[in-house]
Each structure stands twice: as structure tokens, then as C-alpha cells.
């Protein structure tokens, strides 16, 4: 750089000092480089524009000759024009202009020539230099116009056959004479365009419903169990009602809210409540509104929608627009985010279906452990989470999303033809737009299917998660729905119900209550009981059993298997309670014990993971314990799950003998795991880790055996209850273990020593029958006072 600066021909090169500016010598044509001695080259258009103008004028004359005489050819017309006075003037001008341009070109290339001319005109230059540049420009402009108009009028005169002055005045008259034809053309064009316009207008209708303040009856009180979100949304409403409060302090009213969360959590209801509370019009945008047959209709729809919104906003002082299932708007990217995946894990339904992979599903482990296993399964099956609109294809497509983004951020720009074009033409500033108070609300259960640009502040300012309702919310929801039917359920029972249904939403609670009513009606009653609700809940959550009857020997081993799970879970797990235990077959699932978390937890302790694993190991430990070291294939799934959990805990959470921990990506790269998530199949089979995992499993297994040995009576009791009733609620399991009265089963009999002895005897015979296949298994002993022969009513 320094070399460059000193190597130039002149002393100081580089940028001129700021104050000096370019030096313009009157003897130099070039402003940008005074050292050049030639003229600054003209750009092509400047060089030819006058010639083009003259040639066009000559051709207009030729055209006039041609069109007025059918006998004439082009060259004849050309020659004829050249014979006329005007034609000769124009030709002369062409030649003069050509000479001028040749002169310029010489001046551009030959320095002495240019300098000679500059010296010749130095005096003239000095004279004209006395006038300001602006004056010279204006004079030159007037002269150019006069010359141009003269030539045009002369050409017109030749066409019309009148004098040049008259010809100029004749042009408007001629134009008016042509108006009917021009109008006709305009009408044809209009019809052609209007056809398309009309089709698109027609297609762009629909999908948008407007509700006026009186139409919406929903209030915030109707949204149960979402107090936090309601509170925040209420805040937005305050600003919407009284925008000056924030605007006067230099802020702005938040313009957009995204509600996201699992289905059925009341997102739409909340948006309706907002409309009902504010007394502003409520515009509901149908999720399908932007799926269109033709490209561009979606864009028109968005534009039409926002035109309507602005109108309503001005008329009513604000408007709320609600995009339901906003994921239909699509995304231009469409990547699966980890957040989305985790969110999916948090939902019960999608992976509940996957639970069939193991004997007992994974119901008896904590939510956290369930997530690991579900993730493993998802990756294992190459089941990737659908992203909603990917590449814009799923959404409105072809610019609909972009149009929406533009409209959302374009609310602050001046609008309207008169405002922007006419006012500007008249030299006036466009009026700033009025403050459109549009509250955009969107709801989705697939938040990552939304385009990130949509969620940026200024478009969607606030993002609220509508999670599963809180326990209080569930209590209110149960109460409200139960109040709509006749029921015999106490407040304590409602509280219990709310506790054992942590992932219930308004929609599922409503459905459960209705299902319970169906059960009650089927039983010939008109009031819903607690037991109906429990049954309905079980039916909804676990589905309908197949009605398959196991052979006696299999029924007993299966009952032992599930009883061991249940007893270990009951004794050791403190973060959840048993929801249901069953040996009724549902599809691939022979039986299961389903837990319910008592509270929503964020992290899990190592001791709790140990309990999770022990719950899995209970089946193997129990079968071996009760069948003299023998066990069924049914424990395979449980053992795989146990291994998976331990592996994950060791490799990712430093819960093993080492301090190392890896995340999914590291594991994938290390080759220890595949697919980015720890897989049961990816467990190292050999080496230090494998040995440590085996040791841990062994240790937990031994502890499980101890627990089961200490609870032999309880296992046999639950086994009997399962064999007798096939399905037990969590409270019944507790009643059987504790020897109390449950809602359906009276467990007091299981404390009687005689009865327990008969159960031991029955089990011994069953094991004997198992060892000698042809021997008939014993029949199930019954209690002298039949256990829960008649259903104990809840009231």
C-alpha cells in the first residue's frame, strides 16, 4: 500500500482531501481526471440519441407517405420525402449531427485536436461560465424542447397537410377523433383482464370468517387450567384496549401471539376468549384457506385478508385475526428441530402406540426413561417426525407465506394509490398510515413447522406454550364437565381423578366424562359414578382388550410377571403411582402395568433411574424366583429396555463407573451408537462399557430379587387378583397389597394366612404343572367370601 502511494507519477496520489473536491479546469473536459487531455467519452446512448430521434422523425414522414398512397413503395417514399423541404432539413440535421459526433470521437481520441478546440472556445466557455450551472441547464433544456417540438410539429404538419403550428393543435383533435376506437380497445383489454381478475377474485373468497363482538360469547373464565398463559394474554388485551398506555411511553403494542402446545389444550378456545373479552371483531382464518388450486390465489387471499383487517381495525379500533393450525402456512425450510422431537416425546399418544414393542410397554418407568426409549424406537424404525409444511409445499405455497410476512411487517407503510402516487406527483409527502391495531394470533401443535421469519419479533412478538392443564385446571375442568351430567362423584374423588390424569386436556376430560356416562347408561343408571370414570379412563388410555382367554398355565405365569412389576413399582417408585395393571391382551401386548406420574418432573435422579431399571428387571427376577430359575421369552423386551436405560445413563449422564458423558451426536460419531440417538441395538457388546453395564444390571437384579423375596405374599396376592379380575386399577393394586378395600376389589382377604397358604399351594401346583406339561394345572382358589364378587360402589 505504501509502495503504491509513492510510486505514482505525481507527488501525492490517493484520495483527495475531503474539503478540496475534484478540480475542474475550464480547459479540461474531463471532470474525473484532469490529467487526461482528451474529451471524456460519451456513453453510447448519448452518442446516438439525437440521430435516433432524427431518423425516427424521417421514418414517420416516410410512414405518412406510405400510408397515404397505396402506389408507393418504401424506397419511393423515402426518395419522395427527401425531395420535400422538411425531409431535406431533417437530412441536413442528420448530417450535422453525424459530423458533430465524428468531431466528438476525434476529441475523445486525439488530444491535440481536443486541445485546439478547447483553446478556440476558451472565450465562449468563460462567457457561459458566468451563468450558474442551473441557469445554463434550464436554458439548454428550453432550447432542446423548442427544437424537438419544432421538428415534431413539422413532421405532423407533413402528415396532416397543414402548417406546423396548426398541426400541433390538430393532434388533440385527432386524438379525440380516435377516442371511440381507443375506448373500444380499452374495453376489450378490460374484458380480457377482468375475466382473470374475476376468476381469481372468486377463488380468493372464502376461508376467512369474521365474527363481530356480539357473536363471540367465550370469556377468559371458560379457559380452564391455563392460568399462566391466560394471564399473559390478558396483558396483551390491556394494551390493545388502551394502546396509548404503552405508545405514549415509546413502546408499541405487541402485534402477534403464537400459542403452541399439544392438541386439545384450548388454544382455539383462548383465541376466542380474547375476541370475546375485547369486544373487537374476530377474524378466523381457516387452516385450509391457503391451500389453493392455482398459483397466486393464496397471495391474493392474504392481501384480501389484510385489506379486510385494516378496514375492520380502523372501524372498530382494533381487530383480532386468528390463524388456526398455523403450520399449514408452511415453512420455506422445513428442518426437523430437536425441540420438535422433544415435544413429540412429551406427548403421550404418538409413542404410546410404540409401547407394544415390549411385553409390558414402558409404562412403569419414569417419563424420562420413557423418552429415551421412545427416541430409540423412533430412530430404530427410521420413523422421522413429519415436519408439516416442508419447502413451502405443505403450506399455501408459491409465495403465500412470503405475502403473509410482507403484510405482517407492511402495516406501517403508506398505502393507497391516491396517497402514494397522486400526492407524490403533486409534490406532497404521502400521509403516514393510521395505526392499524391488528392482533395476530396463531395456534399450532407443530411450532417448528412454522417459518422462523414468521416468529421474529415485530411479527409474532410473544410465543406462549399451552401445555397440559395444571392439576387445578384439571379439577375445574372435571368439575365443570361433570356438572353438565348427573353424577355421584365426590370432590375428593375428582381430586384423585385430576391427580391420576396428568396429561389430560380439556378435550380428553370432556371425552372421558362422556364415555363414563355411556358406561353408566349401559348399566341402566343415569348418574355417573367414580368407577365409571376410572373405567372410561382406562378404556380411553389403553383401548379395548381383545377378549382373548389365556390357557390356565400361561395366565398364571403372565400374572406372576405383571405382579412382580407391580409390586416392585409399588414398593420402590415414588415419583408415580400405578394407574392400571392388567393381563388382558390388547394386540401385541400381553399385559401391562401402567404408571401415572404424580407430578411433572424435569430431571431424574440416578436412584430413580435405578428403580426404573429394577422395575424392568422385576419380570426376570420374579419369573426365576417363582419358577425355580426358569423364565419365559416375555422378559426379552424388559431386559432390552433395562439395558438401554443403563447404557444411556452411563454414556450420556455419567451415571456409570466413569465420568465420561456423550450427547447423541458424539455417540453417533464415535460409532458407539447409530442414528444420533442411543439405540438398544447400538449398545457396545464388548469392552469396558459393556462390562460395566452388565455389572450394573447384575447389581440391580440382585436388589430386585431381594425386594421380591421380601414381598412374596404381595406378589402372590396381586397375581391372584389379576387372575381373578384380569384388570386392576392402581387403587385396587394398592388395596390388594395393603389388604384394604379398593374401589373394585376388597383386598382385606389377602391378609388372611389361610388364604395366602392356599395361594402358595395353588402356585406350587401351577409350577408342578409347568414342569410336567401333560399335567393339568390347578384351578384358581377362591376366597370363602368372594373377593369383590359384587362391585363395590364408589359412593
Amino acid at each position: 500500500m505504501a509502495d503504491d502511494m509513492t510510486s505514482g507519477p505525481g507527488a501525492p496520489t490517493g484520495l483527495p482531501e475531503p474539503e478540496v473536491g475534484p478540480v475542474v479546469s475550464p480547459l479540461h473536459g474531463r471532470r474525473d481526471n484532469p490529467d487526461e487531455l482528451t474529451r471524456k467519452p460519451l456513453v453510447f446512448w448519448d452518442r446516438v440519441k439525437i440521430l435516433v430521434f432524427l431518423v425516427v422523425a424521417i421514418n414517420v414522414l416516410i410512414w405518412a407517405e406510405l400510408s397515404s398512397n397505396p402506389l408507393m413503395g418504401y424506397s419511393e417514399a423515402e426518395r419522395t420525402v427527401a425531395q420535400t423541404g422538411l425531409g431535406q432539413i431533417l437530412l441536413a440535421l442528420v448530417m450535422i449531427e453525424a459530423l458533430r459526433q465524428i468531431h466528438f470521437m476525434l476529441a475523445e481520441h486525439v488530444a491535440p485536436y481536443h486541445q485546439a478546440w478547447l483553446r478556440m472556445f476558451a472565450r465562449t466557455e468563460r462567457m457561459t461560465g458566468r451563468y450558474s450551472a442551473w441557469t445554463r441547464f434550464r436554458i439548454a433544456r428550453v432550447l432542446k424542447w423548442v427544437v424537438g417540438l419544432t421538428i415534431v410539429s413539422m413532421v405532423l404538419a407533413a402528415i396532416f397537410g397543414t402548417s406546423p403550428i396548426l398541426a400541433l393543435f390538430q393532434v388533440p383533435a385527432w386524438f379525440i377523433g380516435q377516442l371511440p376506437m381507443i375506448l373500444q380497445l380499452v374495453i376489450y383489454l378490460f374484458i380480457a383482464v377482468a375475466q382473470f381478475g374475476l376468476i381469481f377474485w372468486f377463488l380468493s373468497r372464502g376461508g376467512v370468517d369474521v365474527y363481530f363482538p356480539d357473536d363471540v360469547k367465550t370469556r377468559f373464565d371458560d379457559v380452564w387450567g391455563q392460568d399462566k398463559v391466560v394471564e399473559r394474554v390478558r396483558e396483551n388485551i390491556v394494551f390493545m384496549e388502551n394502546p396509548e398506555e404503552i405508545e405514549a411511553k415509546g413502546g408499541y403494542v405487541p402485534g402477534g401471539i403464537l400459542l403452541w402446545g399439544p392438541p386439545g389444550t384450548g388454544k382455539t378456545l383462548l383465541a376466542e376468549a380474547v375476541a370475546g373479552e375485547t369486544g373487537k371483531p374476530y377474524v378466523f382464518v381457516d387452516p385450509g384457506a391457503f391451500i389453493n388450486m392455482f398459483m397466486g390465489v393464496g397471495v391474493l387471499k392474504v392481501k384480501g385478508l389484510f385489506r379486510k383487517l385494516r378496514k375492520l381495525s380502523l372501524r372498530y379500533g382494533g381487530v383480532i385475526v386468528f390463524f388456526d393450525e398455523a403450520d399449514t402456512l408452511g415453512s420455506r425450510g422445513g428442518a426437523v428441530s430437536q425441540a420438535r422431537r422433544a415435544e413429540l416425546m412429551g406427548e403421550r399418544t404418538p409413542w404410546d402406540a410404540l409401547n407394544g414393542a415390549t411385553c409390558n410397554g414402558r409404562h412403569y418407568v419414569s417419563t424420562q426413561a420413557q423418552h429415551y426409549l421412545a427416541a430409540a424406537d423412533l430412530a430404530d424404525r427410521q420413523l422421522f417426525v413429519p415436519t408439516g409444511g416442508n419447502g413451502g409445499g405443505g403450506g399455501g405455497g408459491m409465495g403465500t407465506l412470503q405475502a403473509l410476512l410482507t403484510e405482517l411487517s407492511g402495516l406501517k407503510k403508506p398505502r393507497g394509490f391516491v396517497n402514494r402516487v397522486v400526492r407524490r406527483t403533486l409534490g406532497m409527502r404521502p400521509k403516514p398510515p393510521p395505526k392499524y391495531r391488528i392482533l395476530v394470533m396463531m395456534a399450532t401443535n407443530m411450532p417448528d413447522a412454522l417459518d422462523p421469519a414468521l416468529l421474529r419479533p415485530g411479527r409474532i412478538d410473544r410465543i406462549y406454550r399451552m401445555g397440559y392443564p395444571s392439576k387445578d385446571g384439571r379439577v375445574v375442568t372435571y368439575k365443570n364437565y361433570l356438572d353438565k351430567v348427573r353424577h355421584e362423584v365426590t370432590d375428593e374423588q375428582i381430586d384423585t381423578l385430576a391427580t391420576i390424569s396428568p396429561y389430560s386436556t380439556g378435550a380428553t376430560i370432556k371425552d372421558s366424562v362422556n364415555e363414563a356416562l355411556v358406561i353408566a347408561i349401559r348399566d341402566g343408571r343415569d348418574a355417573v359414578r367414580y368407577s365409571d370414570l376410572i373405567k372410561a379412563k382406562s378404556l380411553k388410555e389403553h383401548g379395548i382388550p381383545d377378549g382373548f382367554n389365556y390357557v390356565d398355565r400361561e395366565r398364571h405365569s403372565l400374572a406372576i410377571h405383571e405382579a412382580c412389576h407391580a409390586v416392585v413399582m409399588y414398593r420402590l417408585q415414588h415419583q408415580s403411582v400405578i394407574d392400571t395393571a392388567t393381563i388382558e391382551r390388547r394386540g401385541d401386548i400381553g399385559g401391562f402395568v401402567a404408571p401415572i406420574p404424580i407430578e411433572e418432573r424435569f430431571v431424574e435422579w440416578r436412584s430413580e433411574i435405578d428403580v426404573d431399571v429394577m422395575t424392568f428387571l422385576a419380570s426376570l427376577a420374579g419369573e426365576r424366583l417363582f419358577y425355580d430359575g426358569d423364565h419365559t421369552q416375555g422378559v426379552g423386551g424388559d431386559m432390552a429396555s433395562a439395558t438401554g436405560i443403563v447404557t444411556r445413563a452411563f454414556l450420556s449422564h455419567a451415571m456409570g463407573p466413569t465420568l465420561r458423558a456423550f450427547n447423541g451426536g458424539m455417540l453417533a460419531r464415535s460409532g458407539l451408537m447409530t442414528g444420533g440417538v442411543p439405540l438398544v441395538e447400538g449398545v457396545p457388546f464388548e469392552g469396558e462399557t459393556a462390562t460395566a453395564i452388565e455389572a450394573k444390571l447384575r447389581e440391580l437384579y440382585d436388589r430386585t430379587v431381594e425386594v421380591l423375596e421380601a414381598n412374596r405374599r404381595e406378589v402372590l396376592a396381586v397375581t391372584h387378583a389379576l387372575e381373578a379380575h384380569k384388570t386392576l386399577s392402581g387403587e385396587d393394586v394398592a388395596a390388594v397389597i395393603e389388604g384394604t378395600r379398593g374401589p373394585l376389589v376388597d383386598g382385606t382377604g389377602y391378609l388372611e394366612t389361610d388364604f395366602i397358604a392356599s395361594l402358595e399351594d395353588y402356585h406350587r401346583q401351577a409350577v408342578q404343572a409347568h414342569k410336567v406339561v401333560h399335567e393339568r394345572p390347578p384351578s384358581l382358589p377362591t376366597h370363602p367370601e368372594p373377593l369383590a364378587a359384587s362391585r363395590i360402589t364408589s359412593s
Binding site: A64, S68, P70, L71, E76, T80, L91, Q170
Partner: protein
């Protein structure tokens, strides 16, 4: 100037040059048009070789003064809205066009004359044959060499070429007459080329080019 524009400049220059050169040459024909002032198109068109001399309209009227002061000729000229005359002689004169003696170089006269109301019922295209000389009644005094019925659009007319001797001792004269009756039978379009028969034979090609270019476009004047 960038290198890529050089061909364009050359092209524009060449086109301009060609246009200038061809524009400097004289036209091959003179074009006659019956065109009312202010109209963009006329009704009658024909062309004559460019070397022929056109007479200004005023001088034609002046030349007609001696014999058109009264009577039928005056009425006739009053009804004539347009007339043009051309002479191919090196010393052009309107006496060649209107004189009794046959000119020895071709002359052209063209006119558009309205028909008076009383003339209109009897006017037919065939009757135009006798417009200048009563060809059909003179019998052998006139030698008719061409007698064609013509039609341009809805305008009908005749093309007659005949030769006769106007007075003993005079050279035989040939008159090439094309006349059309307007669609509304209210106007007559006339084109006459005259000269001696020897001259006519000698200049046949030129004369034919004039008569064949005679074009009536009534609709366009609309």
C-alpha cells in the same frame, strides 16, 4: 466505448448511410393524390414518371379561363373539385394539355367532377366512353383500339383508347381515357393521356404505367 458495441455502431452507421444515399437519389415517379386538406388519405391515386412536369393547380385554372367563362364548360369546371396536369415535353406547356393540336409528347390530365342532380339518373359506367369524344356515335371516323370494362371495388368504369384525326392535315391523335363512375353515381373520375399516335406508340410503356397505376379508393375517403 466498449468493444461489444462496435458492431452495433457500425450497423447503425451503415443503415444511416444507406438511407441517406438512397434518399438523395431522385424518385422514379411523381405521385398524384386527390386528398382533401386535413385528410390522411385520398380517393384517387396515380403516378407519372418523375421527369414529367406537374402544373400547379392555379395555372391549370388560369389556362382554362378563355373557354370556361360561360355555358356548359363553366358549369363543368365549377363541378370539378380536383384536377391535375402533367407534361412530358422538355418545354412543358398547358397548351399541350388543352390545345386542339395533338401534342407530340404525352400529356396527362386527371380530374374529379361531381355530377349535377339532373345528370345522375342517366349516368352509367358505359356512358363514360363518350365523355370526351362521342366514340360510340362517330363510327369509322374513330379507331378504337382498346375498350375495356373496369371495376375497382364498387366503382365501375371504362378504359378506352381511340385514335382520330381532328382536322385534315393534322397528325392522327390517340387518346387513352380511363373514367370511373362513383358508387353513388354522383361523381366521375377521369384520367386522360393524349399525344399523337406515333408518340403514343413510342411511349406506350410509360403511358401504360400511368394508366395502370390509376387507383380509386372511395371507401378510404369515407
Amino acid at each position: 466505448m466498449s468493444r461489444s458495441r462496435r458492431p452495433l455502431v457500425a450497423l447503425v452507421g451503415a443503415a444511416l448511410g444507406a438511407a441517406l444515399v438512397s434518399g438523395c437519389a431522385a424518385p422514379v415517379f411523381r405521385y398524384a393524390t386527390e386528398k382533401p386538406a386535413g385528410a390522411l388519405a385520398g380517393t384517387v391515386y396515380f403516378k407519372v414518371p418523375y421527369t414529367w412536369t406537374a402544373f400547379p393547380t392555379g395555372s391549370i385554372t388560369t389556362a382554362q379561363q378563355p373557354w370556361a367563362t360561360a355555358g356548359d364548360p363553366q358549369l363543368l369546371l365549377q363541378a370539378t373539385s380536383w384536377q391535375e396536369a402533367y407534361d412530358s415535353a422538355p418545354q412543358p406547356s398547358l397548351s399541350h394539355v388543352f390545345g386542339r393540336t395533338a401534342p407530340d409528347q404525352p400529356v396527362v390530365y386527371a380530374s374529379l367532377r361531381s355530377l349535377y342532380t339532373e345528370e345522375q339518373p342517366g349516368a352509367t359506367a358505359a356512358g363514360l366512353r363518350d365523355l370526351l369524344v362521342p366514340v360510340s356515335t362517330l363510327g369509322k371516323a374513330v379507331r378504337v383500339t382498346t375498350d375495356d370494362i373496369l371495376s375497382q371495388g364498387r366503382v365501375d368504369g371504362v378504359h378506352v383508347v381511340f385514335s382520330y384525326t381532328s382536322a385534315p392535315g393534322q397528325p392522327e391523335e390517340t387518346i387513352d381515357q380511363t373514367a370511373y363512375l362513383s358508387d353513388g353515381t354522383d361523381a366521375v373520375y377521369l384520367l386522360v393521356v393524349r399525344c399523337t399516335t406515333a408518340c403514343y406508340t413510342a411511349h406506350r410503356a410509360e403511358i401504360d404505367s400511368v394508366t395502370s397505376s390509376y387507383t380509386i379508393q372511395e371507401d378510404r375517403s369515407g
